[in-house]
Amino acid sequence: MKKNTNINIKEIRKDFPILNRKVNGNDLIYFDNAATSQTPKVVIDSIVSYYSNYNSNIHRGVHALSQEATDAYENSRIKFQKHFNADNSFEIIFTSGTTHSINLVANGFKKILKSGDEIIISQLEHHSNIVPWQMLCEETGAKIKVIPIDHNGELVFSEFEKLLNSRTELVFVNHVSNALGIINPIKKIIDRAHEFNAIVLIDGAQATPHMKVDVLKLDVDFYVTSTHKICGPTGVGILYGKEKWLNKIPPFFGGGEMIDQVTFEKSTYAGLPNKFEAGTPNISGVIASGIGLDYMNSIGLENINKYESELLNYATKEMLLIEDLKIYGVSKEKTSVISFNVGEIHPYDIGSIVDKFGIATRTGQLCAQPIMDYFKIPGTIRVSFSFYNTKEEIDLFIKALHKAISMLS
C-alpha cells in the first residue's frame, strides 16, 4: 500500500490518541467515520492552548486576550475561505453544525418563497436536508419535488431535468450521500438549475472529508458542512453563501454581535458575517476547526482520497465474497462508505456483535429513512473508512463479520 500512496499510515496513526484505545479487550477499530471523524492531537492541543492561554469573549473586548481570541477566530474564517476558494471571508459563516446551516438558509427563504413555488430535493438526502425544507413548505405553501434514485442508489438525472421549470426556486442536494457514499453530479445539477434561475444549496457534510471543494468553480449558491467530520471538534458548522444571497436573506438568530443599532422601536442589522453570528459563538471550536483543516491539508486531500479509495476497493472486494451480502449504493463515484446487509439478518444484530470485537460501525436508518423505504429494509450496517484506517483493520472486520453471521444464522 505504501508504494501506491503518499500516506505514511504508521505516522498518521500516532497523531490520533484514541487509536490506542481498547474496546472490549480489543484494539479499537473505528469504522464510523461518516458519523464523526476522530481528532488528531494537534486539534486537542489547540483547545487546551485556547483555554490555558487566551480564552475570552471575542469582537468587543479591547483587552489583549479578547484580541488574541478574535484574531484566532477570524484567522480560522480565512482558512476556510481559502480552502473553499470563496471570494470573501465574510461569505464564510460559522454555525453550530450542518443542521444549523441548513436551517439558517431555510429560514431565510420564509419571506421570499410564495405558495406554488417549487423546491427540489433528492431521495438521497439526510434528514437534516429534508425536514427544514418541509417546515419551510408548510409556512410558505411551496411544494417539494423529489429526484428519485435508481436501484443502484444513483440519482436519475433525467428525472431531475423533468422536475425543473420556471416555478423551481430552490434545489437542495447533498454532495455525497451519507447512507450510501455515492457522489452526486453536483456540477451538472448546479448548472442545469441555474438555467432556470434556481438557487442551489449543496450539503457537503459527507464530501468535505474526502475531496477538495471549490465553491467558485462549482458556482454554488450555498455550501454547508460540519467540522466534526473533518478532524475538528463537535459543535461547529460552516455555511458558505454567495454575498448576494447572504445579503438577501434575513438573520436567523437575534442577539448580540448581529446588530448595529438597538432601540426598542427598531434594530438595524450588522453587516456580514456578524449578521448571522449572534451571541457568543463556539470560539474554541472554531479555532480548533481551523487547526483540523490545516491538519487534513498537511496530509493532502488528494492523498487522502487515493488512500481511502484503496481501502474502499479492498473492503468491497472482500465483502462481496461473503454469501448473501448485499451492498447498497453502487457507483463508480463513491467515497469510502459501504452500506450493506447480510441476508435477512437485522443490521442491529451484526452491529452489536462486531462491537464486541471492538469494531465501531453504524447501523439503522442512518438518518435517511427515504432511502431505507426505497430499498424496503429496516436499515443497513454502514462501515466508513478514513485515512487513518488500514487494510489490516478491514481484515479483522471481515473476520468478525463471519463470526457474527455464524452466530446469528
Binding site: N24, I345, H346, Y348, D349, S352, I353, K356, T363, G364, P378, G379, K403, M407, L408
Partner: protein, 142 residues
C-alpha cells in the same frame, strides 16, 4: 418460583460461560424459545418505542398473574426480551413493579442498559413495568 429466584437461576446459568460469545449464543438460544406474540399484535401499538429493531410486547392477566408474549425482528433483541419475560412473566403486577433489575449487570448485559442502545433493555423493562402498573391500577379499581 419468585422473581428473585429466577434471576438467581439466570445468574448461575450465565456464570457457566467463559466469554461473551458463549453468553450471546445462549441468549440467542433463549430467544428462540420465547413465547411468541400472536401476529395480530405485531402492530405499532405494541411496539416498544425507541428501539432500532422492532420489539413487540403484549401482556394479559391470567389468574391475577401477568403473562407476557413478545417478538422482535432482531435476534439479539429477541434474546433480551426472552430473558426479561422469563423473569417477569407469570407474576403478580405488584411483584413485577417492585422487582429489582440488578441481575442484568451480573449476567453481563450491562452494556445494553445505556440510553444509547437503540434496542435497549431499559425501554423494554420500562414497557413491562408499565403493563404491570396498568393492570395493578385496574385491580385496585375493581
Amino acid at each position: 418460583m419468585k422473581i428473585k429466584e429466577i434471576q438467581e437461576e439466570l445468574i448461575d446459568e450465565f456464570a457457566m460461560f467463559d466469554d461473551w460469545v458463549e453468553r450471546y449464543e445462549y441468549m440467542i438460544d433463549l430467544g428462540k424459545s420465547l413465547p411468541l406474540i400472536e401476529s395480530k399484535y405485531k402492530t405499532d401499538d405494541y411496539l416498544v418505542s425507541g428501539c432500532q429493531s422492532k420489539v413487540w410486547v403484549n401482556a394479559e392477566l391470567i389468574d391475577n398473574n401477568i403473562v407476557f408474549k413478545a417478538d422482535s425482528d432482531a435476534i439479539i433483541s429477541k434474546g433480551i426480551i426472552a430473558i426479561l419475560i422469563r423473569v417477569f412473566s407469570h407474576h403478580k403486577p405488584n411483584e413485577i413493579i417492585e422487582a429489582s433489575t440488578d441481575f442484568i449487570d451480573e449476567i453481563g448485559l450491562k452494556d445494553h442498559l445505556s440510553p444509547n442502545r437503540a434496542n435497549g433493555l431499559s425501554s423494554m423493562i420500562k414497557q413491562l413495568k408499565l403493563y404491570a402498573l396498568a393492570y395493578q391500577t385496574k385491580i385496585n379499581d375493581e
